[in-house]
């Protein structure tokens, strides 16, 4: 037995986190089928079961999303075998449609829904409290406060589920799911169940006439569940004969025990919390004079008891709010305020810069974002280096007019102040004020390159565009009296080549496109200096948010970025919708061939399943075309200019389109040759301030690459305007 949890020594200890403990509990209960979609902090449940699946004849799968996973588990349970489905709290929203009615039909084989909440949102978009989903759906819920409880509750939940014929939720929070502890293991019961489906239409076909009967059945089961909760071994009273009683659930209860002298209080640990075990609580309340409630997130216990015991000390009175997670310190402070424990002196935090999460070095998402941000480039001048020599003006006039005459130049050197000069030229503004100002419609902007051209037939030399441009980039030709401005020399500006001080560079980036985002590593593209992603709502939302903006008329074209796994999870309906409704959205699928953020689980595109077996590779481009998208392009984001070219093409295309940016996650492949920066580097900042690679740092003199952090992707070498980055090999 290689798998970590596949140890057959009852009574021995394993070091397990809460997720692994749930997996062990399920294996001990003889689970037959397990399904899940990865989501922090729940991912390791299915991972651990899959790891041990072959040892115990379990079928385990990564489903494409949580509702599919729950439906798979429901099917298995209807066929009489035990099933577990695991997900993060927001995954339960995705699975909610199935869960709500599954409570009506009920189950046959024990069905456990393991749900991990994320108080403080270490890796989530909200901090909903699953205990209230239990209330909403009438599904019984056990709340685990440490890995040992997670194991025992999961094991027991299968029995409860079969007894009540209802699914049962086992709830963990991040600190339980990702906290490791010594866990005592029990005997493994090997399953000998044979799958059989009992065709019983009145139970399984939820048309109104059947559903209304099943709703009544459900209410009866909730009644029975209440009795189970009131006699559950997970609701534990520790009566120390003290005046003050502390009631809690989850990890908050254990924080309180770790910061207080436990012998000075009586304790009630609530583990079976829905249906609420009121009889247990009443018994506890009769033994104490004062009650303090410790629970993270919503005041669930508090609301259940407040009508009978209005004088309890809950969230408000303790100063423990329902936002964020508890810490031992916060709980201690609350008890210090009540004069129930002594304050300890602590030091202040040092004033230090934060270290926000970043896209990893070598990440292909960063390279794509860079291409998108710099799709329209223009000539930029560094005022610290510009000497005002006007060589650029000579170079420009020579190139465009075949004369050395600065008056005919499209670039203009100006003195900013006593110490600096600046050469100004067209910035290819997306909402170009010059184009808008022209009374003759003589100016137009290329959707591809952003270059603004003047139709000389229509231009009457009125000069309104000159006044409109805040960069002073437009002038009138001295002979023709028509407006002239930079055309970037087809992407190879002559002025840049001639500047003797290397003050000019052809770069420039704009973040004035609208780019909706989604959920995955690539969400981090909202952070500076990348600043590309502008929304993150829920799995799959970006595509449809972009469509909504388009139909509201906000812009001509909106981009939506989504990862490969997220696309399979929730992006396909949105893509079909933009094809059907002709929305001018460009969907960018960032395909790194894995679910990277949760720890590299396989995707339908990776050719591997949860058990590590080969399976059919589902090609994203086939899916996109089959959903009605005619314009589908595949790019290699490490070929930055090639990627820009495709983006320009798509900018000019009318209608829904897809760009698949394909490169594997660098953490899964061998590192490339480390890059180094030559001493000729002039510290222009493109690699740090615009590209944003965390392996590169910059000083006023030069940039430097940390070889221990560099993954050797080589994109910095490609984008360095001065060609001073090279491979070490």
């Amino acid at each position: 037995m290689n798998a970590k949890i596949a140890v057959d020594k009852p009574g021995s200890f394993l070091l397990l986190n809460g997720d692994e403990a749930v997996a062990r509990g399920a294996v001990e209960a003889g689970v037959n089928v397990a399904a899940s979609y990865p989501g922090t902090p729940s991912t390791e449940i299915l991972e651990t079961i899959a790891d041990a699946a072959k040892n115990f004849g379990i079928y385990a799968e990564w489903s494409i999303n949580e509702i599919v996973a729950l439906e798979v588990a429901a099917g298995a349970s209807m066929a009489g075998v035990r099933a577990i489905v695991s997900m993060k709290h927001v995954g339960l929203n995705v699975a909610a449609d199935a869960a709500m009615t599954l409570a009506y039909t009920g189950v046959i084989g024990g069905l456990v829904i393991a749900v991990c909440d994320d108080p403080a949102m270490h890796s989530s978009q909200n901090e909903q409290d699953t205990r209230y989903f239990a209330v909403h759906s009438n599904i019984p819920l056990l709340d685990a406060g440490n890995p040992q409880e997670a194991l025992e509750m999961t094991r027991e939940a299968f029995k409860i589920s079969e007894r009540l014929q209802l699914p049962v939720i086992v709830r963990l929070t991040t600190r339980v799911a990702h906290g490791k502890a010594r866990v005592a293991i029990n005997e493994i019961v090997k399953s000998s169940r044979k799958a059989e489906f009992d065709k019983n239409a009145s139970r399984w076909v939820m048309v109104p006439s059947n559903a209304i009967k099943q709703h009544r059945v459900l209410k009866g089961r909730v009644q029975e569940a209440t009795e189970l909760a009131n006699s559950s071994k997970f609701n534990v009273i520790e009566d120390n004969g003290k005046e003050i009683g502390i009631v809690g659930s989850g990890i908050g209860y254990y924080y309180a025990r770790s910061v207080l002298d436990t012998s000075q209080f009586s304790w009630l640990n609530l583990g079976f919390v829905y249906p609420f075990p009121m009889e247990v609580f009443k018994r506890f309340a009769s033994k104490v004079k004062k009650i303090i409630v410790i629970e993270e997130l919503r005041p669930y216990i508090e609301n259940n008891i407040k009508c009978l015991y209005p004088e309890i000390l809950g969230k408000d009175k303790l100063g423990l709010d329902e936002i964020g997670e508890f810490t031992p310190d916060a709980i201690k402070d609350a008890f210090v305020d009540l004069e129930l424990c002594e304050k300890s002196e602590t030091q202040e935090d040092l004033d230090l810069p934060s270290r926000p999460p970043v896209l990893c070095p070598g990440c292909p998402h960063r390279a794509f974002y860079y291409a998108l941000n710099t799709v329209n480039q223009f000539v930029v001048c560094d005022p610290q280096k510009c000497t005002g020599c006007v060589v650029c003006e000579y170079a420009c006039s020579a190139e465009k007019e075949k004369v050395f005459n600065p008056i005919k130049s499209r670039i203009r050197a100006i003195r900013l102040d006593a110490f600096s000069n600046l050469a100004m030229t067209c910035r290819v503004c997306e909402e170009a004020p010059c184009v808008a100002a022209c009374p003759k419609d003589a100016l137009s902007r290329s959707t591809e390159t952003g270059v603004i051209t003047v139709n000389e037939e229509q231009c009457n030399g009125c000069g309104w565009c000159i006044n409109a441009c805040e960069y002073g980039a437009i002038t009138l030709h001295p002979n023709s009296r028509k407006a002239i401005l930079c055309d970037t020399c087809n992407g190879e500006p002559v002025c840049v080549q001639w500047c003797p001080e290397s003050a000019l560079s052809f770069k420039g980036r704009s973040t004035d496109k609208i780019v909706t985002g989604d959920i995955g590593c690539y969400t981090l593209g909202f952070l500076p200096p990348v600043n590309t992603v502008q929304t993150c709502l829920c799995m799959g939302a970006g595509i449809s948010q972009a469509a909504g903006m388009i139909h509201a008329g906000v812009k001509d074209k909106v981009f939506a970025v989504i990862g490969d796994s997220t696309f399979f999870h929730a992006g396909m309906p949105g893509l079909l919708n933009i094809a059907y409704n002709k929305s001018n959205v460009c969907v960018i699928i960032l395909d790194n061939n894995t679910v990277a953020m949760t720890g590299h689980q396989p995707t339908p595109g990776s050719g591997k399943n949860a058990l590590g077996e080969q399976t059919k590779i589902i090609q994203l481009e086939d899916v996109a075309r089959s959903l009605g998208i005619e314009k589908v392009e595949v790019v290699d984001p490490f070929d930055v200019e090639g990627t820009r070219k495709v983006i320009r093409e798509v900018l000019a295309y009318r209608g829904p389109s897809v760009i698949i940016s394909r490169r594997p996650c660098p953490l899964l492949i061998k590192r490339g040759p480390t890059r180094e920066i030559l001493k000729e580097c002039n510290s222009c900042g493109v690699c740090v301030e615009e590209f944003g690679c965390p392996a590169i740092s910059i000083s006023p003199e030069r940039a430097e690459i940390d070889p221990t952090l560099c993954y050797g992707c080589g994109v910095c070498e490609e984008i360095c305007p001065f060609e001073v980055i090279r491979s070490k090999e």
Binding site: Q347, D351, P356, V358, L709
Partner: protein, 197 residues
């Protein structure tokens, strides 16, 4: 006996593995143990903190502020960040390496540098072991064993109740094939760093 340790550094430095090995060793040695760690938004490059608690009975994995006995710092800025966790006479083992954060282009980080950070930490810590983990690891021929070198140093502190053999077993349990011997060597060299100073 109670021992509370804070592991602090940056994603990718091997903090999860090192703290796992410590817990596994404590378990082998017969202690109760609990650990909290955060798998944050980024796979690499963000702050990572793990709390490890060892004792006869451990209630919950998070350590109270000002109560940690030891800080094992993998990077200087991240070590400085968790200093308020340390009790008054606690010890710090720190890898002498400053990796500037992405925010270092703006604000207070701009003026921060290696010397300044080191000064700040020396001022606040009573017992500080400074270890050039990267240099030692390079001499061992693999930069990826810095975490095991630091773990070795941690194991040599007088506060640590977990026996050396337990660590060796835990390393063999947690790591794969050819890396076991390399890491056992790194562990031994790490132990010497504390014994020397």
């Amino acid at each position: 006996m109670k021992l509370d340790i804070v592991f602090s550094g940056i994603g990718g430095q091997g903090i999860v593995v090192a703290s796992d090995i410590f817990c596994e060793a404590a378990l082998i040695d017969g202690w109760d143990v609990a650990k909290a760690e955060i798998h944050g938004m980024a796979q690499r490059g963000g702050s990572i903190v793990a709390h490890v608690r060892v004792g006869e009975k451990v209630q919950a994995p998070l350590i109270e502020r000002g109560k940690a006995h030891i800080i094992l710092g993998f990077e200087m800025l991240e070590t400085a960040r968790v200093l308020p966790m340390l009790n008054d006479d606690g010890s710090v083992i720190m890898n002498i390496k400053y990796i500037p954060p992405s925010t270092s282009l703006v604000g207070s980080a701009k003026s921060l540098n290696h010397e300044k950070l080191l000064g700040m930490i020396r001022d606040r810590v009573h017992t500080l072991y400074e270890i050039d983990g990267i240099d030692i690891a390079n001499r061992l021929g693999n930069t990826l064993v810095v975490n095991t070198i630091l773990l070795g140093a941690l194991s040599a502190l007088p506060e640590n109740p977990v026996k050396q053999e337990a660590f060796e077993k835990a390393i063999a349990l947690r790591l794969k094939g050819k890396y076991v011997n390399l890491n056992l060597k790194a562990f031994q060299i790490g132990r010497k760093q504390v014994n020397l100073s």
